[in-house]
Symmetry: D2
Subunit: 311 residues, 4 copies
Amino acid sequence: MEFVKDLRWNSHSYTSDLVEQFESQGFQSTELFKVSEVMYKMWTEKSKVILSFTSNMVTSGLRGLFAQLIELGLVDAVVTTAGSIEEDIMRAMGEKFPLTRFGADDIELHEKGHNRVGNIIVTNDSYMKFEGVMKKMIDKIVEEKSELTIVEFLDKLGSQLEDTNSILYQAHKKGIPVFCPAISDGAIGFHLYMARDRYPNFKLDLIGDFKKLIFTFSPDDKKGIIALGGGVSKHFALLSTLINGGADYVVYLTTSTGWSGRLSGASTKEAKSWGKVKDDSDSATVIGDVTINFPLAAFRTLEKLHIEARI
Amino acid sequence: MEFVKDLRWNSHSYTSDLVEQFESQGFQSTELFKVSEVMYKMWTEKSKVILSFTSNMVTSGLRGLFAQLIELGLVDAVVTTAGSIEEDIMRAMGEKFPLTRFGADDIELHEKGHNRVGNIIVTNDSYMKFEGVMKKMIDKIVEEKSELTIVEFLDKLGSQLEDTNSILYQAHKKGIPVFCPAISDGAIGFHLYMARDRYPNFKLDLIGDFKKLIFTFSPDDKKGIIALGGGVSKHFALLSTLINGGADYVVYLTTSTGWSGRLSGASTKEAKSWGKVKDDSDSATVIGDVTINFPLAAFRTLEKLHIEARI
Amino acid sequence: MEFVKDLRWNSHSYTSDLVEQFESQGFQSTELFKVSEVMYKMWTEKSKVILSFTSNMVTSGLRGLFAQLIELGLVDAVVTTAGSIEEDIMRAMGEKFPLTRFGADDIELHEKGHNRVGNIIVTNDSYMKFEGVMKKMIDKIVEEKSELTIVEFLDKLGSQLEDTNSILYQAHKKGIPVFCPAISDGAIGFHLYMARDRYPNFKLDLIGDFKKLIFTFSPDDKKGIIALGGGVSKHFALLSTLINGGADYVVYLTTSTGWSGRLSGASTKEAKSWGKVKDDSDSATVIGDVTINFPLAAFRTLEKLHIEARI
Amino acid sequence: MEFVKDLRWNSHSYTSDLVEQFESQGFQSTELFKVSEVMYKMWTEKSKVILSFTSNMVTSGLRGLFAQLIELGLVDAVVTTAGSIEEDIMRAMGEKFPLTRFGADDIELHEKGHNRVGNIIVTNDSYMKFEGVMKKMIDKIVEEKSELTIVEFLDKLGSQLEDTNSILYQAHKKGIPVFCPAISDGAIGFHLYMARDRYPNFKLDLIGDFKKLIFTFSPDDKKGIIALGGGVSKHFALLSTLINGGADYVVYLTTSTGWSGRLSGASTKEAKSWGKVKDDSDSATVIGDVTINFPLAAFRTLEKLHIEARI
């Protein structure tokens, strides 16, 4: 039996030491430790791992950590939404996202062409430059091949980037798929629509992606899911395991809880009723902002893998 | 200046009387009253109205109210996710969704083939019958036309249903578009994939839908948004107004708040920084479960429209 | 087995009809219906009922409904915090609380002497008048008796009020206790301190209240708890049942969930581990703003009691 | 202008390095960094500091960190609720609190005498031993002096403990007051009631504490508030600054937001309308579980103070 232990600060504390103190502190800190443990097993048991996240996380600096996990060979597939693709490319183009306050004056921001996402800004200027860059990148892709799956399309975008911290760049380099079933839900939808005007035969084949998804895993694979936030990203990631016998290692990091029936707050326990997660899986959920909880848990797991010379 | 008024129960109280007492009660009840007022203006000012919702709401009995709003001519476009399409069709087929408890034993449910969404069950049996029905409906569609936009595809599905409480059925009857940009994110993705096997030329054109979306409104239209929940549904609905000068009347009903930068909790205030919502728009947000808050606000607005012989 | 039923609006809908439709709608609306049912049993099974609430609810118009429930003989004891006492008296004095917006400019409000509680204002002017009134009321009490329990003290305050919508007034009229263990936590703490200066022998006996609390119920009583919000109010109310064998009928209406170990979000399920709530009790929890959910559930229960000529 | 920077893991990362990366990561991680900065200013600008927390945090291992902050001389007054006093003493007596799961079977726990607080257990056995210990400690206090303020009473309890990780012990050693206005709201209320039976003259003077509270600060002091969680602890802490011209440095760490008017979610911005917080104060709020966010922010601040040889 584990008991609560009192937390103490020591000078020069490592992140991993703090997270290890969390194990016996209680409440969400204990769950965060468990998330770190489940990721450790996921990575040491040679699972195939799907990482899903929402676009606000790519607007934030988590983008760098996602790219790094791919670069380290710890991710086998990514699932996300259109905003992630846009912001990842903008940042790879050198655009910068100013920080602001949560309560900023939005009418004033609108006049400045500053679009707010919580306490982060994406400027109209960035969107305009992005439009130009996208035009060129899409043209290059379509001239070579006018009909692609979304996964192929995103891989071709990634191949045109050069940025260590870019998710698409690292995914291309590692040859892993980036799924984005709702690709049209953003500015990128507009770019696709304009490309269609230029190339009437330009088509994205969403059905083809589904095939790719269900063959990401085989029923024999150990399957791991790291689901950050909810929505389509989380749901589509879980579809891949549902079809293949359920996930073995699952962590959810979310701000939501399950009382309204929304998927964002659906627990790994609920996922068992569906067979998305195996009955005897290792799973953990930690509630709170992912920009805090994911780096904490991941840094500790990475440190442990590093000490064991696994990465 | 408005002041807090003490709430009192009277026997035989009408829903609309209660919501009108909310105006001067404070906290979210006052916001709920404002939502009802903004919807009243939206509908009496002859706006074009987009209704967006997440799939869990269609799993719930809200499905009937959504269908009724379409039937009453109060909705000009719908945006939702794949689960909504699935559950709407299952229910139209006569399938029933058992109610359960939030804390139900999920391993036991899994053994019974009961998939849990909060306190609602969708059975494996329903999914299996759905597969058979979808096969026939998709075959019928594809034999007629093998390449369609998602909006066209959903309209063709709706044309094969016969259920007053069905969203797809009512949307087809009224000739309004149902947008579902992430159509492959669910069991339906699997059905589409299998149809592709039978009909290699079967294609869904997601880019074509974007054109439809941006011509849903013209810049001259008064534009109204009723966004229930978040995710892709909410974001895609707002894209349509962003491109057309911003919405005039906007209500958000959600369980989320904005502190993690997630779109689900993004406020109408934040939307102004983007131009999704006009600076001088009428807008209101009410936080809480949509299965409670939307019927309350909508019933009161409908009652007011009814008394004025507008519906 | 219960199944989801589609919700439909009918013209001239009664609040109770809507809440009864909630039974088979799913998610929190179903829980709200259950709350209404548990209150119905609580009141028809002749339970002794403790009503606990936080002070923000008295700032809102819920004050009127609380007073009405006491007036109707449906409440046997009240537990709350200092702010409730203050706001109840201010309103009974004729003070009005202006409504504002959640995002109001607080520095501007501060300059105007407007103190904000969410979207409600309590003015400095109200606080100043309150100070004068309290001075007289306390003096009158202390000159008669300088050492009282908090329950006695609050009863004496109630005896000096004359307002149908006042909680203290109705509690005094009905002879039911109002518990306020943290009586000093507010402006009233300052008034007590100044009274001590005028009357060095003025003492409030908090220990005496505990005796009163544990004899509110006997182990043989059927015990009902209506806990609105969390904090000291909820905890103290549950103490009374813990000591007397656990509650039989329990409803929680709250905005919180249990993931941080805070009592505000602790479920009736967790309460069973403590014996605060009997293992076989009837209990229900609904999550969301109490200004919406409590009137809805209560109006429906009151209507049912009224139709059966019980009230 | 600050811009988002991509987060990267480096092997052997210090907690303080991670928190410093948070500055430009966005969302709550940026707010957490600000909390750390405000605490740094609070402590280097020689403010008087009130630390308030709820009792669940003392059930958790945060107890050790609170005691350590007092021991380091960084806290001038504590405000909390009855459960904190109880759990602090139980742990000082050597009792251990087992860890469990959030979804544990509560009826089974009840049979074992295991009382659940989230994922932590306090056993009936601990409560029974606590009763015996409290009887002796209270008797010793009352035989010396039968009428005390709550602050004096808690100091006398602290004087009888011997545990580095105990809040009451360290507060006694440092001679700082522990305020607990709702002292009767817990098992301790029962112990006080039984002591009254043994010593009819035993009285706790809650009014006397208010005087102590308002003289904790003078208007000339720089005033700092660290408010962890909400409820009476937070409110009472803020009363002390309200009366003395408002706080200069304020951090809120909470799981709540402000939409229901509850104090737990009231922002530092709202506090300005009351004058609890100065208009030009340094303040920051971070939302999420305090067992994660407070150690993170505090460890980084302590590290910075340590490097500068201030602690």
